[in-house]
């Protein structure tokens, strides 16, 4: 993946797109967790949410920047 992508003729770092995508992904995971009450099994839900986000962003970012 190139380092920068032209969105409407403005150069945007492609990591930013990955970031936004990871946010959406995390939001979906969060929704499922809340919907089925999965957070009951988690010690510190906010920390878990952040960790999920960092896993998504880190993994996808590394993949994209390969």
């Amino acid at each position: 993946m190139p380092r920068e992508i032209a969105v409407l003729d403005a150069l945007v770092p492609s990591l930013l797109l990955v970031f936004v995508f990871s946010l959406l992904l995390q939001w979906a995971v969060d929704w499922v967790g809340g919907r089925y009450g999965l957070y009951r099994y988690v010690w510190h839900p906010p920390l878990f949410r952040v960790a999920v986000f960092f896993c998504c962003f880190g993994g996808l970012g590394l993949l994209a920047m390969q």
Partner: protein, 702 residues
Amino acid sequence: MNARQETASPRPWLMDQLRETALDWLYVGKALLAIFIGGWLAMRMDLQQPATTMMTVALVMHPASGMVLAKSFYRAMGTLVGCGVAIALVGLFPQQRELLLVGMALWIGLCAAGASLYRNFMSYGFVLSGYTVAIVVLPVVQHPLGLFDSAVMRVSEVMLGILVAGLVGDVLFPQRLRMALRQQLADQYSGFLAFVRGSLGGVLAREALEEAHMRFVGETIQVENLRSSVVFEDAGVRAHSPRLRQLNQHFMEVSTSYQTLHHLMNRMHAPHHRDTRDRLRQLCVFTATALQGDCQPSPEAAARLSLALQQTERVLPGKIREQRQGLTSHRELLDFDTGAELLGRCLQELRAYVQAYAVLRRPGVATAAEKEVVFQHGNDRLGALVSGVRATATMLVMGSFWILSGWVHGGSAMMLATIFTGLFASAPNPSAVVRQITLGFATGMPLVFLCQFLVLTHMDGFGLMVAGTVPFLLTGLYLTTRPTLAGYGTGYVLSFIYLLNLHSPMTFDPVYVANEAISQIGGVLAVAVAFSLFGNASSNGWLRHRLLRQLRYQVARACEAPLNGLRHRLESATRDLFMQIMVHAGPRARDWLPWALSVHETGRAVVELRRRYIALPLAEQAAVAAVLEAFARLYRGDAGKQDVAHQSALLALDTAMVTVTDRPALRQLHLLRLALLDNGSVLVATPTPNFHSHQEEAPHAP
């Protein structure tokens, strides 16, 4: 034993105090940490104004993590929209400073008006999308080509601040707003049940009803406010959010019906009503027995109570038939039926409320019926227009002054004035808030001088810079946790961060700081002037009366609006409007409480009547339509000048009661008629002087 108890009591008190203090300092520590992490990251990333990031953190930080996330979300939205509009506006008028200024002022006015139509942080998002335009455009007004970079910078700085604040607020020792919501719901539940249990078979004068009503309105609105923020904090609550709405809706419905029941009983004080009233009272006493059980606010107890209520609901019709025997005259039967039906409705709604409370935390999906519930806010459009005009006018006046006088720092004054006129447009008593903020600014400025030119000049590196600024910020942040000094503390922290304008490499320019300080004070004073010229409903009696008018107008809406979902909208909008009146009028709101009660009662009866409307034959429909029309006119007219409308409503009611044969519709008509004739109600312009003593002599139950 007494002595032992007394010596034992200070310890929990002390522990509570210590706990509260510890929580306050925890918040201060978290805020400081977030501010400096934000500042450091912004400097590392070479953003133009790390101060914006730090300011964002300071603005969105709140002890409860749900509040931080909610405010962050709307701040992000507002910033994005504002930047988009800034680019569009400069694209339209790149060479014309005056037109650009007018365009900006209009947009900001529009946003300020929009802000007063919404509550909580949604309103904040509107204000923000307004003034972000000014923040983005002003620095590049001389060289429009730099606009895009300015917008990108602003977005980056704000987003960075939001991320840092959200992370620190939510992950590091969060204080859960969810707990506050749970506690609030439990208090509401046990408070209401205790109120019903204590009064269902007993005496309740109008004053006590009014008192309770005020409390219930406050609780309803508070639950709705908390709900709108907790959904950002907790995915579980977000999934159950429709259920919470539903619970609140049931609470509103049952409190309206219960109050109507008491009014009805209070109205039957004449001797010829005594027999009917005694029979109804028997029914009430019977119903109250169901509530003698466990009223603890736990889901299990609520489930048991709901079963007990269901049982009572099943037995009640038999009891009603039993009491109905022996009543002969048409009038008595109608009185009795109306009361009995109302009691049945109360019981049914109470059961629904208790049941909703019982299943609140049970896992599962929201049903379609729960999703339909809406909480509608009531608004005065003219009030919104006033806040729009206020924001536009402030910006135009300050902007013209800036351009005409050639004041180099006039832009900052204009910007600050615009920000604060938008932010405090719907605050209760904005003049007092602005006064506190001004004092905060005035305190912050000399301290910035002290910090920047006496302390920071000796400091080298980020660590020492933090050490040099922490003592100043610490005091300000602690002040924001004190309820009475919150405005002062906010002003102090904002002016401190804004004026200190930390960046890397740091530059020290006393002349610049002094000029900025003067323009800031000018800006804040302009806000004070704007609010004293165009006050909001807190200082403007006319706007307050408009709110009351809007409240009465809800009955007209109940008569005319489409029936689908009308009950929900009516219950929430009337409460929201009354809450606004309470917020702006303070203790004076009590004078208007009778109107709120009358609107609730009549509005609900009208809705019930309209639900029967379709089932009626044509001739009866016409009579009912005439009643609806007359009531709409009665509540639309001015308070105190409704004699004619009152007479015609009474006439329409009498005609309809002769024509209509459908029993449920007839009961609602009777209810409306009693409400219309009640001497204690605000609808009767000249209450008989001995009414109150009469009511106290003959309470409807011992």
